[in-house]
């Protein structure tokens, strides 16, 4: 252990920003344009939503525990499924990714805040409004047209109640909010990097933020346009997606799958970026494949989004488009493979201590590999025509999104937990929750591959005994219960460690990027002194210069000068 100071010096009063301390806490939270406060609200909301999503998934699975179950009616099942999809995508995974990027990136580039803080604040409030709106629908009619409400089913004549309107309003508010947050972050990363932080010196997660933000800036307006068209169809008798005369139901599939596929890739890219940071820190040296990883992340974002028609292998689109999507999907093996290779070999050839972030990161890679392999095999034209819309496809998507979204999310949050809260995450509870979640995911999803190959379709509220899928469904429901318990344990650990965890130093993992220079939790203005960046690992330079200065001065420990 070097002589890095365990307590940072107090901040200088002349650069302190923020509002007066006599306002109540909730008012300060609600009105703060600080990127750290906004991100913490986003991340907390995401972990509240993952509990709701897991609960809804559990209810859906309980209905499918035995053939011809009468636990839920068809309408209730469709509503739970629709709300589950909206919660998992729009209230859990996307806000978690954006929250992490929005918290960490300004710190990593050594900035004192974001460029357009009020824009970010507006984004947060649009997100909160969208989330409340979705759950307020339980007071009247929840959406019931499926995870992706395909017109004409989602049009007014076939679904006359308000459910789909709520879905449109809620998802468009959340998407617009995320878009505003992302624009803020993009401008920040572009304009507010610390002196000396050229792009070639930017940490992997800053590159990740740039890639994901550009991707969302492109896909979110497309989805907002589609939502507007659907709203016009439903409320103003528009006819964009009406079959036959003047409209095209297929148009919605294209527009919505551009967004959903892009969001899927954004989740994978964000979490792989976070896992790269974790692996770099825990293996205690610069990642050897840094450039390969950054290039691969960009390639995944681009190629993955362009391959949106891989979701439409059964739709009436030209055969060439399907083969094009298959080519793009298969070529994704290369960037994903490069990232997996670089991360795994970095861990294998190092001396590390297995802590919660690295454990969750390895779990994410393990589960993600299963999901990605299955997704690629289904993107072939022949298998897509057989396996799409079955539980095989469901299991593949869930393996990838639970792997990257949930495990990657817990990895990233437990890695930056000391920075966000000033406390250490309880290691024992984290380990137990990891293994419960890991076993739950395997037991919940592996049997569904079998059910999908047998031909069980998703979205149907019951199945029949002669379909040969009863045992698969029974095991999957049991596994979902274990997964639910694991999620409750993991989220509970985040909550409990917030008040009970050991106090953290500013740099508990000895990281190499600038967020570890700030206090834990950081002051509103992040840094007293803007560091001068000279390499890819500025924090390493700061530690070395401290050691050097100490050697020169031969000062006794505990009387350090302010850092940098």
């Amino acid at each position: 252990m070097s002589s890095f100071p365990t307590v940072m010096p107090p901040t200088r009063p002349e650069v302190t920003t923020g509002d007066s301390p006599d306002r109540p806490g909730w008012a300060r939270l609600a009105t703060s344009p600080d990127h750290k406060v906004i991100s913490l609200i986003l991340i907390s909301a995401a972990f509240g939503s993952v509990f709701l999503a897991a609960l809804e998934l559990l209810l859906v699975r309980l209905q499918l525990v035995v053939p011809e179950n009468v636990f839920l009616s068809a309408v209730t099942f469709d509503r739970l499924l629709s709300v589950y999809g909206a919660t998992a995508i729009f209230l859990f995974i996307l806000p978690l990714c954006i929250g992490l990027l929005y918290y960490v990136t300004p710190l990593q580039i050594g900035s004192r805040g974001t460029a357009l803080p009020r824009l970010g604040q507006t984004g947060l409030w649009l997100f909160i409004l969208g989330g409340f709106l979705l759950y307020a629908s339980f007071l009247f009619t929840p959406p019931e047209a499926g995870i992706n409400p395909l017109p004409p089913l989602s049009q007014h004549i076939f679904t006359p109640n308000n459910g789909v309107d709520v879905w449109i309003a809620s998802t468009s508010l959340v998407t617009l909010g995320i878009l505003l947050l992302v624009i803020d972050l993009l401008v920040t990363v572009r304009n507010m990097r610390a002196p000396g932080m050229a792009w070639r010196r930017a940490p992997i997660f800053v590159w990740t933020a740039t890639i994901v933000c550009w991707q969302i800036v492109i896909i979110a307006p497309i989805f907002l346009a589609a939502l507007t068209m659907l709203m016009v169809d439903r409320q103003l008798d528009g006819g964009f997606f009406t079959g036959g005369v003047g409209g095209a139901p297929l148009l919605w599939q294209h527009l919505s799958y551009i967004f959903f596929t892009g969001a899927y890739m954004a989740v994978a890219v964000t979490m792989l970026g976070a896992i790269s940071e974790i692996v770099q820190t825990f293996t205690r040296r610069q990642l050897p494949g840094r450039r390969a990883i950054i290039g691969s992340l960009a390639a995944i974002a681009l190629i993955g989004t362009l391959a949106w028609t891989q979701n439409m292998m059964t739709a009436p689109i030209p055969g060439g488009v399907k083969y094009y999507a298959m080519l793009l999907s298969i070529s994704l093996i290369v960037p994903f493979g490069l990232i997996f290779y670089n991360l795994i070999s970095a861990v294998a050839s190092s001396d590390f201590h297995m802590r919660a972030p690295l454990r969750f990161a390895m779990g994410a890679l393990s589960l993600g590999s299963v999901g990605l392999a299955a997704e690629v095999s289904q993107s072939t034209v022949a298998l897509g025509s057989q396996l799409q819309q079955t539980y095989d496809a469901w299991a593949a998507t869930h393996f990838a999104l639970i792997g990257f979204g949930l495990f990657g999310g817990f990895a990233a949050v437990s890695y930056w937990y000391p920075k966000m809260t000033g406390r250490m995450l309880d290691e024992d509870r984290a380990r137990i929750s990891f293994w419960v979640m890991f076993a739950g995911t395997l037991i919940a999803l592996v049997p569904l591959f079998g059910a999908g190959v047998e031909g069980q379709v998703t979205d149907s509220f019951r199945f029949f005994a002669d379909e040969n899928v009863s045992l698969f469904n029974l095991i999957a429901t049991f596994g979902t219960l274990i997964l639910f318990v694991g999620i409750v344990l993991a989220v509970g650990n985040l909550v409990r460690s917030h008040s009970e965890g050991a106090t953290s130093t500013p740099d508990p993992w000895r990281g190499s990027s600038l967020e570890w220079l700030a206090l834990s939790p950081p002051e509103p203005h992040n840094f007293d002194v803007l560091p001068d960046v000279r390499s890819v690992q500025p924090m390493q330079d700061i530690r070395e210069s401290l050691v050097r200065r100490e050697a020169e001065q031969e000062a006794p420990a505990g009387e350090h000068q302010p850092v940098a």
Binding site: L150, I333, V334, M354, Q389, N468
Partner: protein, 277 residues
């Protein structure tokens, strides 16, 4: 602490794989075969392709996860930093690229073969110039309507002759429906305002069903796609019977209407030209 986690992972993996294997082998048709009752050459090719992809995928997953397990194995040693320069990455990238390319070529070849249209072998009435039997399939909430050549139609069950190329033209009358008969054709969406085409040639007789595969409303779970493959003679008899029944129904409607018109015409004058006393 470290040794305990080393024990739990194999345990979890064993439970999951044992449960899955149990479920897979407990079901009568082995779950590892995509379509054990494949009844068309195209689906048999897809089955073969599925086997190849399945094996390749499982090998890839096992290699990656063994590497993760080995990398993350708890240990207390000091590892010399290996030389992981650009050359090695290039080699790995190159290798992966080759693998991806090989996969792509395989996929293309097999997929295109699976979608190849086999030549029809019969001269049944209704076959067009390309020796195909063209049938229009209309999805509606929550059943299928089949229009055979020359005005015959039926609901619920499609009847086709064996060893004949059948072209299904799928359309929808209301919302999107998912046509799905795994043993014969695979899935295809019936979208309003657009025609989706499927080709198949059944090589044995039997009844093949599948569950509709796109959420279409509240009766979705009861919507079945059902195809009965029969001999050519039976198919012709079936279509003749349909035509006769339709003709009879139309005749009876026409007769009823004419009768009503006649009666109306007879009643009206008698009512009006009532002789005055």
């Amino acid at each position: 602490m470290l040794s305990r986690s080393g024990k739990i992972l194999p345990l979890a993996l064993t439970i999951a794989s044992a449960a899955t294997a149990m479920a897979a082998f407990a079901s009568p048709a082995s779950a590892f075969s995509l379509n054990p009752d494949a009844a068309s050459p195209g689906i048999e090719k897809i089955n073969t392709f599925h086997w190849i992809i399945f094996v390749v995928t499982v090998i890839a997953i096992v290699i990656v996860n063994l590497a993760i397990l080995r990398a993350a194995k708890p240990r207390h040693r000091h590892v010399q930093s290996e030389s992981t320069g650009g050359g090695r990455q290039m080699r790995v990238g190159f290798g992966l690229g080759v693998v991806a390319l090989a996969l792509f070529v395989t996929a293309t070849v097999f997929s295109s073969q699976a979608r190849e249209v086999p030549v029809g072998s019969s001269e049944v009435a209704g076959l067009n110039a390309d020796d195909q039997l063209e049938i229009r399939v209309t999805g509606q909430q929550w059943l299928w309507r089949y229009d055979y050549p020359n005005t015959a139609f039926s609901y619920h069950r499609l009847v086709v002759p064996v060893d004949t190329t059948v072209a299904l033209n799928l359309v929808s009358a209301d919302v999107i429906h998912g046509w799905n008969v795994p043993a014969l054709t695979g899935k295809a969406q019936a979208v309003p305002g657009k025609t989706n085409s499927l080709y198949f040639r059944a090589d044995r007789e039997g009844v093949f069903t599948g569950q509709a595969s796109v959420l279409s409303g509240q009766g979705y779970d009861t919507m079945q796609s059902e195809v009965a493959v029969v001999s050519l003679a039976k198919y012709e008899a079936f279509v003749q019977r349909l035509r006769a029944a339709i003709q009879e129904a139309q005749d009876s409607v026409v007769a009823t209407q004419q009768k009503e018109l006649r009666e109306a015409a007879e009643e009206t004058p008698t009512g009006e030209v009532e002789p005055q006393p």
